[in-house]
């Protein structure tokens, strides 16, 4: 009975948003209050789950009371919980913002159920313990993300998100073929059991390697890893602001999380330095190219979207460092830095997009060159952009400052000094594109009288950016403890 209560939040994190989606679909007139209620409930379930894992260690639940190989497992270890907590807090902020964002009632009714379904898919992905279940979750995430991105109905939004949908489908089919090969070879779909089978059976190396390539390349497509990032900027830049925030901060992150999970857990015995180096090179190209394009972008939201391409790139730089670092404190530092950067980007980018959306609705456009006086009209929002920007650059005390510091330290210690150049270049370019926005936004006009003009829209952006800069930077210690909580083997 006790252990049941402990694992209940695992189930609730996924079923509560599903129920919320069903109710907001069925009762569209009450979509906003029902949606907010579901958002609050889901977020509290996630926080409860976080507390449970913090106190009792990694959790595992096999659904249906069957043998683990036959049924679907859910699991929450430190890594999953860290990302799920970030995702749920960001999603709550986006929900509050969205409750006042949509003017057209038809659009608002369409937004809520799709948004809650997307939220369920995110939580489902972070907490899944089954290869095929991950495929279904990936598809739910892809379909809801594309539908939400196309919500404005503008030509650019629909065509960009149609492309996003097709690319996402291609990615998930490739992933599914990998799963089919793994089932053929190892006869089970449970993540832990397949991991054990891969470690135990090196005769099937070729099969496992093929599955790894199929799955990781499918996910890299969804994660917009350079050069497969072509679909991201238009899709993210043309979506409604709360959706852009979710797509850039959370949806892409879910695919990266899965790559990391597969790389470090499932395929750990067969992933070598060469493969890791290849992904890191693509990541390095993403950092430089994404930052450069962000600097050249003419629109605020496009800048933010290209910056996502770059920020995703950083996460892949960790793979070759992890490959050569033996278990121990240095490796823990690297893993924590990786997660810290992912979390910081989640908070900062969602804050950035929400603030950019407000600038856009306020000014009627988001052309960077014409942003003069924004600081006077929307001081709190400009402050949020500045905060989020400093986290994107990696200025202290933001979480990504620590992340980048540990990344460079790891690179030098493992003799792969060239990543330091990439990180420095990326950070310099990031400072350039952030200050380009700020220098426009702060004109030479008189100081404003009122800091906050529209609380429901401005406070979420401000809080999310603040978390990225202050909380994750100054109080990142618990992350090390949390990440040390790993699932004990398979079943």
């Amino acid at each position: 009975m006790y252990s049941n209560l402990l694992t209940d939040p695992l189930v609730l994190c996924i079923t509560l948003p599903l129920l919320g989606a069903a109710l907001t679909t069925a009762l569209p007139r009450h979509a906003v209050p029902l949606g907010i209620l579901a958002a609050l409930a889901t977020c509290s379930a996630a926080v409860t789950l976080g507390v449970d894992v913090w106190q009792h260690g990694a959790l595992r639940l096999v659904l249906g009371g069957w043998e683990p190989e036959l049924a679907i497992g859910l699991r929450a270890d430190g890594l999953a919980v860290a990302l799920a907590l970030m995702a749920n807090l960001v999603a709550l902020g986006i929900s509050v913002y969205a409750s006042g964002y949509f003017r057209d009632p038809e659009r608002m009714r369409a937004f809520w159920p799709l948004w809650l379904l997307l939220w369920a898919a995110l939580n489902g992905l972070f907490l899944a313990g089954d290869l095929f279940n991950l495929y279904v979750m990936l598809e739910l995430l892809g379909i809801t993300a594309a539908a939400l991105g196309a919500l404005t109905g503008s030509r650019e939004a629909v065509s960009a998100n149609l492309r996003y949908l097709l690319v996402g489908l291609l990615g998930s089919i490739s992933y599914l073929l990998g799963v089919a090969l793994l089932y053929t070879a190892h006869g089970t779909l449970d993540l832990g059991l397949v991991a054990r089978a891969i470690a135990a059976n090196d005769r099937l190396f070729a099969v496992d390697a093929a599955a790894l390539v199929l799955m990781v390349s499918g996910l890299a497509l969804k994660a917009a890893l350079f050069p497969l990032h072509f679909w991201l900027p238009p899709a993210h830049a043309n979506a409604p602001a709360p959706v852009s925030a979710a797509l850039s901060a959370l949806v892409v992150k879910a695919s990266v999380y899965l790559i990391i999970r597969l790389w470090l857990d499932l395929f750990a015995p067969i992933t070598g330095l060469a493969a890791a180096m290849f992904l890191a090179l693509l990541g390095a190209a993403a950092v430089v190219w994404g930052s450069w394009r962000a600097l050249r972008a003419e629109r605020l939201k496009l800048l933010a979207a290209y910056s996502t391409v770059a920020q995703i790139g950083y996460l892949f730089l960790f793979l070759p460092l992890l490959a050569v670092t033996p278990p121990g404190p240095p490796r823990d530092n690297l893993l924590a830095a990786l997660v810290l950067m992912a979390l910081t980007h989640g908070f900062a980018k969602s804050g950035f997009f929400l603030a950019a959306g407000l600038v856009q609705t306020n000014a009627g456009h988001d052309r960077i060159d014409d942003l003069g006086g924004t600081a006077q009209r929307l001081p709190a929002t400009t402050f949020a952009i500045a905060l989020a920007g400093s986290a994107l650059i990696g200025l202290p005390p933001s979480g990504s400052f620590i992340g980048k510091w540990l990344l460079m330290q790891g690179a030098i210690e493992s003799g792969q000094w060239w990543w330091v150049i990439v990180v420095t270049t990326g950070s310099l370019l990031a400072s350039a594109y952030v200050f380009r926005v700020l220098s426009r936004a702060f004109g030479l006009e008189p100081t404003p009288l009122k800091f906050v003009t529209d609380a429901r829209a401005e406070v979420p952006a401000l809080l999310l950016s603040l978390v990225a800069v202050a909380l994750l930077g100054l109080a990142s210690g618990p992350l090390w403890t949390l990440l040390a909580l790993r699932a004990g083997g398979g079943a």
Binding site: V11, A22, L63, G64, E67, I72, A120, A150, T188
Partner: protein, 256 residues
């Protein structure tokens, strides 16, 4: 069949595109060979019984006699719940894009006569499929697909609503599957059995309840997806012109 608008480019570019697609074909042929070799290895060196023995051995405890149904609604019921959510998401995405396009012209007497025969037959067959799924091939998906097919036929024969009720009712039908699944699952969890863990005595009836709800939801969703847009404000049989003329305002149909 290339569309001229997409392919308005010079001959040289077209030639380059052809070279590229040839190169791609060679690379993909190589991929195919590698995949075949790997698959051969996996079949020969892989775990032979896989989950078959275990899945078949547990069928008597699952509440149904058909092993595939046992996997779908019992061992891997969670997948099926998410999959119903995928279907719901697709319909909601479709609805968010546009109002339903006008239907086809009314069918002639011969077609209408045939439709009035075929549609009831499809509905009865769907019920049979649902029931037979308990111990033989069949089940909620097959039954739902038949219901969806009935909707397609009705729309083809000239009813723009595909035989679906007004928007308010349709919304409840669409979510019925997810709602019933999640509520039964959560109720079992609250009673201490665990999420979607059916007590053996009740398994058969709980599964029938969930499958019936899922059948209706799947049938509605497939028909609604075929309609291809938000139901019009009037709910029942709008004429072609009104369908696109009344997008927003009071889009809720009459309450049931």
């Amino acid at each position: 069949m290339t569309e001229p608008a997409d392919w308005a480019r010079s001959d040289r570019a077209r030639e380059r595109a052809r070279d590229l697609s040839l190169l791609l074909a060679v690379l993909l042929a190589l991929l195919g060979v590698v995949l075949l070799a790997v698959y051969f290895l996996a079949l020969n060196g892989g775990a032979a019984p896989r989950l078959a023995e275990l899945a078949l051995a547990r069928v008597p405890q699952s509440g149904v006699g058909n092993p595939v149904t046992a996997v779908l609604v019992n061992y891997r019921a969670y997948d099926t719940l998410v999959e119903l959510a995928v279907l719901l998401a697709a319909v909601l995405g479709i609805w968010s894009q546009r109002p339903a396009p006008p239907g086809f012209q009314r069918s002639s007497a011969v077609l209408a006569g045939m439709v009035s025969w075929v549609v009831p037959l499809l509905i009865v067959t769907s019920g049979y499929m649902l029931w037979v799924g308990g111990y033989a091939p069949g089940g909620a998906f097959q039954a739902g697909a038949l219901l969806g097919a009935a909707g397609v036929i009705v729309r083809l024969a000239g009813d723009p609503t595909a035989g679906l009720p007004g928007e308010a009712v349709q919304r409840w039908l669409l979510v019925l599957g997810v709602l019933m699944f999640a509520l039964v699952g959560l109720a079992l969890m609250l009673l201490g059995a665990g999420f979607l863990t059916y007590p053996p005595k009740l398994a058969k009836w709980l599964i029938l309840l969930i499958e019936s709800a899922a059948t209706i939801a799947i049938g509605t969703a497939l028909a609604a997806a075929y309609v291809g847009g938000r139901p019009s404000a009037k709910g029942q049989g709008p004429s072609a012109g009104e369908a696109s003329a009344a997008p927003s305002s009071s889009s809720l149909g009459p309450r049931p």
